[in-house]
């Protein structure tokens, strides 16, 4: 089974590691993410103003590209890796499902594209892993159990809010934890897992991001997490950069590495991961201290 895949701008720039690892993980699990031949920015945020349709053009074009590729691959699913893109594409798609008149209007405007029929299902990579593959099958494919690693799965807010687009429990999500358990890792529970990392405030109000990240990371550290795992490139960026500042200011006494779920999965699912692990000394050291992998 292959899926049309929408990367989004971040996955091609600051989030490259996530894409590289996720494409590899998909192959190891027996499916392929096929990048849409052309795509535009998702729109960055979902515009809640009900009568401004121009801001939905970007996402709509991507949904049309998915519709075209879906005919070839015989699927109506579109997979994203970035939480922000997932949120925008899914909300735009849902808006069309609930408002056929708006879909008609936008199709009239997009007169040099085929009509969008409203049938695409926007899925996050996590959903594919959990629903289409399943933790059991992932467990079978594990080459290196992460049994000596304590992980803190951090969702952020874009995957689970608003409720209409959430694919997991909004207050105590379990999907990422289940997948990490399947890899053999010890999953800790952090009540801050669905709290916002500060998101785009990083540009205009860095202080707000520092506050958010301090709350998230200090609990994670008290609970003894070796690594924070996230599916979101913006969370990964904010949590990593804010920790540097927090550490310099003495607000936290150590920095916890923040990596993508896909990276950890690649470490666990790859046959000979020694070369790849070299990039993750902090994990290798932790595991060596406790008797290796």
């Amino acid at each position: 089974m292959d899926y049309p895949y929408y990367p989004g701008c971040t996955l091609k720039t600051t989030g490259k590691k996530d894409e590289e690892a996720a494409l590899e993980v998909a192959k190891l699990l027996g499916f392929e993410l096929k990048e849409l031949p052309t795509w535009t920015c998702c729109g960055v945020v979902y515009n809640l103003t009900s009568d401004v349709m121009a801001d939905h053009l970007s996402a709509t074009r991507t949904l049309i590209r998915a519709q075209e590729m879906g005919r070839e691959l015989k699927t109506n699913k579109l997979v994203t890796l970035c939480s922000m893109c997932y949120n925008v594409l899914k909300q735009v798609n849902l808006m069309y499902k609930n408002n056929p008149d708006k879909l008609k209007n936008i199709n009239l405007f997009l007169d040099n594209e085929e009509d969008y029929l409203g049938n695409i299902e926007v899925m996050h990579f996590l959903e594919i892993l959990y629903n289409d593959i399943g933790p059991e099958k992932i467990k079978e494919k594990v080459k290196t159990s992460l049994k000596n690693l304590k992980v803190d799965p951090y969702y952020g807010c874009m995957l689970l809010r608003p409720k209409t687009i959430a694919f997991d429990d909004q207050d105590s999500p379990h999907i990422m934890g289940d997948i990490l358990s399947a890899l053999g890792a010890t999953v800790i529970e952090n009540p801050m897992t669905v709290e916002c990392c500060g998101a785009h405030q990083i540009i205009t109000n860095k202080g707000a991001v520092l506050d958010c990240v301090e709350r998230i990371v200090s609990i994670s550290q008290k609970k003894g997490a070796d690594v924070i795992v996230t599916p979101c490139p913006l969370c990964q960026y904010n949590l990593t950069t804010a920790q540097k500042t927090l550490f310099e200011k003495g607000k936290i006494n150590r920095k916890t590495p923040v990596i993508y779920l896909s990276e950890l999965m690649k470490i666990s699912l790859t046959e000979s991961n020694q070369d790849y692990l070299k990039d993750y000394i902090f994990i290798k050291d932790k595991l060596d201290e406790r008797g290796g992998l």
Binding site: T13, T38, T40, C41, A54, L110
Partner: protein, 228 residues
């Protein structure tokens, strides 16, 4: 009174005034036929320079169309105006100080982040380039794609006129091509070799020999030149 074989005339409205123009003329020649004289904005008259960007509408068609005046022939019921210049911000940059980091284009032209993918630029482009796609490629730092997709741009500026996000697409594309040429594309070693050869003075003897020849001798030499 119509003569035999007379070229049929069509109605063309230039800045609102109707003129009867022989069909088959280009928009540029039609303007001249109607009495306009170009002192600027005529450009190369061959579709390469982009100086004669024109917008027009056809009777009973809601769409605003565009063309290069030197490359398009008149049609009956055409309402047109030529836009010989585009006021557009153009960054001054020092190529030696630039790089090809993923935000290299975004740094010089941050307004590309305002693109809403409306595709107005692509629709208006008289060169039929995928303008929106190269703006989107620029946004995500894909310099090679931006350079390739914008390669045939003639810098007419129509895209910048139509953009609701006020992006100056053609300047962004130009920077992408410059970055691609300087940092990505393979170096043209043969050109470098040829320049070195000239600088070394090797061809000087041959040139002095030519200089000393009479016109008849040169003509003879030209006729006997090896032809591939």
């Amino acid at each position: 009174m119509a003569e035999k074989n007379q070229i049929p005339l069509v109605s063309v409205f230039i800045m609102g005034k109707e003129y009867k123009i022989p069909s088959g003329l280009t928009l540029m020649k039609a303007m001249e036929y109607a009495g306009y004289r170009y002192t600027r904005g005529a450009g190369c008259r061959a579709g390469f320079c982009g100086a004669c960007a024109t917008i027009y509408r056809l009777k009973n068609d809601y769409k605003l169309k565009s063309a290069l005046a030197c490359q398009t022939t008149v049609a009956d019921g055409m309402y047109l105006v030529q836009l010989p210049f585009t006021p557009a911000n153009k960054q001054k940059y020092d190529m030696e100080k630039l790089n090809i980091a993923h935000n290299a284009l975004l740094k010089e032209y941050p307004e590309i982040a305002r693109c809403i993918s409306c595709n107005s630029c692509t629709k208006v482009c008289p060169q039929e380039l995928k303008v929106m796609d190269y703006v989107q490629a620029s946004l995500r730092g894909d310099i090679e794609k931006a350079a390739t997709l914008s390669f045939d741009c003639v810098q007419c500026g129509l895209c910048a006129f139509r953009c609701p996000a006020e992006i100056t697409q053609y300047h962004v594309g130009q920077l992408a091509r410059r970055l691609y040429g300087k940092f990505v594309a393979p170096k043209a070693i043969h050109t470098e070799d040829a320049v070195n050869k000239v600088n070394s003075g090797a061809p000087r003897a041959e040139i002095s020999k030519l200089k000393s020849m009479s016109p008849a001798e040169i003509k003879d030499l030209y006729k006997k030149r090896p032809i591939e």
